[in-house]
Amino acid sequence: MAAPIAHPTLLGNQALRLRHTKFTVHGGLHAKQEFEFLEPIRPGMRVRSRGKVIDKYERRGKQYMVTEFVTEDENGTVLVRGRFTQMLFRDEEEG
């Protein structure tokens, strides 16, 4: 595998912030994260993350949303995929 390559989780935050592209949502805490690393991320790549909300629920008085995502290069090759669960604060403030 030719160097240099990025650490596999480098683009995690790009995916994590997807909810802000669609919803005006409150801040919250990251509860769970799943990753599958398929192809190395390299300098110079232009990447896009996209995802969809696949579940929402309430547990012990707290609200959670689950998002499934993929991160792809310009050719549509999937580099990373996974899902994450975020707990949302109830009031309308930044997290």
């Binding site: 480098l10 769970k32 994260q33 690393f37 403030e93």
Partner: protein, 136 residues
Amino acid sequence: MAVAKEITVGQVLPPLEKQVTQRQIDAYSGVRPRSIHTDEAWARQRGFRTTLAQGMMSTAYISELMTRLLGEGFIKGGKMAVTFIKPVYAGDRLRVCGVVRELVPENGATRVVVEVWCENQNGDKTTVGTASGLAY
């Protein structure tokens, strides 16, 4: 490439030691007001004793642990599933740990399944879960 026959079930991975600093959190999360990661007054107002590191930082530490074990076999073919069970605060010291739990044949290689966790300076686990990758 990690050599499959050299990895054994029960093998304890050499732990990583990480000092979580506000400067690292700022660089990772981006400084902005009303953020529990970079605005200490805001974090306290939200009930935390100080600013928190993102859970994602712990996934990066676990990724480093696994890459040290498996190299390219984690970069391409690696998986991770973790739960963030306790906050990691600015100033905390984390130990990133792993124990090999399973070796599973997969397409001519071996998937090495590792129980992973991070624990803070008080011995409290902050992140728990599983990570895996390929050895040849």
